[in-house]
């Protein structure tokens, strides 16, 4: 008797569900995506700023999976494909927001010399004594600093720091080399350090 490891078993079950979903079994589709959707929401939530935005991203990702599943040819793990779509949707989602606020995406890698905001510029003048309010303020400042990153830098930074993914996993998700991921990560870290220095000091 051979004992299959959990990953192999999972992949086999995924395959079965995918084939059923491809032939129109909606129950199988739901079962398949609900195996991984928590992580989709986790990635979305760590990338965007509000729960509503996270749900929007989640829905867009799963709709793309629903529409594209018929063409899925098992060239990668289903989860890899799903998270790849998730990172794409996150990046596009931010792009949409940026367009609304009339900011160009072309600044992506070129804007690295822009001046960081100082914490004292954004914190209220009066001393904030309440710890809760202070924490909220720090959270807002972290989000503000994340917003200053390019979409890809932000994606790499959040996957790494909030979700704990390794470089190779991030490279697989974003369909680029580990070297490129490193470049985004180091630039993002440098910029975050500059912008949040007053927070963590």
């Amino acid at each position: 008797m051979t004992v299959k490891d959990p990953d192999t078993l999972m992949a086999a079950e995924d395959r079965d569900l995918i084939l059923k979903a491809q032939s129109g079994d909606d129950g199988a589709f739901e079962q398949l995506v609900f195996r991984y959707d928590r992580q989709v929401l986790n990635i979305a939530a760590s990338y965007v700023n509000t729960a509503e935005d996270a749900k929007d991203v989640y829905q867009e990702v799963l709709m793309r999976v629903y529409r594209g599943l018929k063409k899925f040819e098992f060239r990668s793990e289903f989860s890899t494909w799903l998270y790849r779509i998730t990172t794409n949707v996150c990046i596009t989602h931010r792009s949409r927001r940026k367009r609304h606020s009339h900011t160009s995406l072309d600044q992506e890698m070129e804007s690295e010399d822009s001046q960081p905001h100082s914490l004292s510029d954004t914190l209220p003048g009066d001393a904030v004594t309440d710890q809760h309010a202070m924490n909220m303020e720090i959270t807002l400042h972290v989000q503000d600093a994340l917003r200053q990153l390019s979409p890809k830098q932000k994606m790499v930074f959040t996957l790494r720091h909030y979700q704990g993914y390794k470089l190779k996993e991030i490279a697989d998700m974003m369909e680029c080399t580990e070297g490129t991921v490193k470049k985004y990560l180091f630039t993002a870290t440098q910029r975050m350090r500059d912008q949040l220095k007053e927070v963590y000091e």
Partner: protein, 324 residues
């Protein structure tokens, strides 16, 4: 001296992505380089600050709400697909030779009935089983005859005449049980989120909130509340949205319901819905906090710009009461 490789190793070392040799070299360098030690401390502090202050927390309730909203979106998607299928079927019917069409249709139907009878008579569907497992002993289930629909030919082999096809065997199941039964609630939630007919969705909300259900005591499952919030915010039918809001107003007021009401007040174009939402918020004013900036902002916005006079008036009153 070029410190850049060490800076990169510091970053990679945080997630244990250095080889043993690289780690050793880094540690050796750090002993003698105060500047790089400072960088490492800064990166560690940054990591701690950032992870402690993640913006959105993914709770079970958020996941359930996302799933409900996705189900609603999927239902719309399927409706769009089936409408397109109807158009293509119509075009095919117009342009295909009538005799061929009639013979093909009759053949498919006969095969479908035969296959359905042989394979599914006396058996229940998988979904039916999963629902049955959740029913209590008091809940009665009655199954009807299987019906065959959506017959599709997959392949045919001219050499021996064998064919391959698929079809949906639908077995009607009649359920009689308490609306407090988790299995029955599960079915009602599915009806509310998946059914295309708004009348059915309306009946599902009514059944969930019948006087026999213990929702006013907070005993209902979270999935019912989440489904009702989703329906209140997203259902395209105002009647269903209104009924869902009414149902939620009977439940214990909490953060999820408050967020749902804020969403209705901010986004629902139906004035009746906004009036109901502000009334529910007003009646729950004891639960509202003067530090809730999101709520206060929304109320201020309503006072300034809602086109309904009553909503403006009530928003002003709620704002004053919350501030006191």
């Amino acid at each position: 001296m070029n410190h850049q490789p060490y800076r990169e190793w510091i970053e990679l070392g945080l997630s244990d992505e250095l080889s043993a040799q690289e780690r050793l070299q880094l540690e050796t360098h750090l002993v003698s380089c105060a500047e790089c030690r400072t960088v490492r401390e800064e990166i560690q502090s940054l990591h701690a600050t950032v992870t402690k202050n993640a913006g959105v927390e993914v709770t079970e309730s958020l996941l359930m709400e996302a799933r409900q909203q996705f189900r609603v979106a999927l239902r719309h998607e399927r409706t769009k697909v089936s409408a397109w299928q109807k158009v293509t079927e119509f075009v095919n019917a117009v342009f295909a030779p009538p005799m061929k069409l009639a013979a093909g249709g009759a053949f498919m139907l006969a095969l479908g009935f035969l296959g359905g009878y042989m394979m599914f008579s006396g058996q229940s569907s998988q979904n039916g089983n999963s629902v049955t497992q959740q029913m209590t002993d008091e809940t009665e289930l009655t199954r009807g005859e299987s019906q065959v629909a959506n017959v599709k030919f997959i392949d045919g082999d001219p050499s021996d005449g064998s064919i391959e096809f698929s079809f949906d065997a639908i077995t009607p199941v009649q359920v009689k049980g308490s609306p407090n039964d988790p299995g029955v609630q599960n079915l009602l939630v599915k009806a509310l989120t998946n059914e295309e007919n708004p009348g059915v969705r309306l009946r599902a909300v009514s059944a969930m909130t019948s006087p026999m259900v213990n929702i006013q005591f907070g005993n209902t499952d979270d999935q019912v509340k989440t489904a009702l919030i989703t329906a209140m915010k997203r259902d395209e039918n105002p009647g269903v949205r209104k009924e869902a809001l009414k149902a939620l107003s009977k439940m214990p007021f909490d953060e999820d319901i408050k967020q749902g009401l804020i969403s209705v007040l901010s986004n629902d174009k139906n004035e009746g819905m906004r009036v109901d939402a502000i009334n529910v918020l007003s009646s729950a004013k004891g639960e509202l906090k003067s530090t809730d900036e999101e709520l206060l902002d929304m109320l201020r916005q309503k006072i300034e710009s809602d086109n309904n006079g009553y909503v403006r008036l009530r928003a002003r009153a709620v704002l004053q009461e919350v501030r006191q």
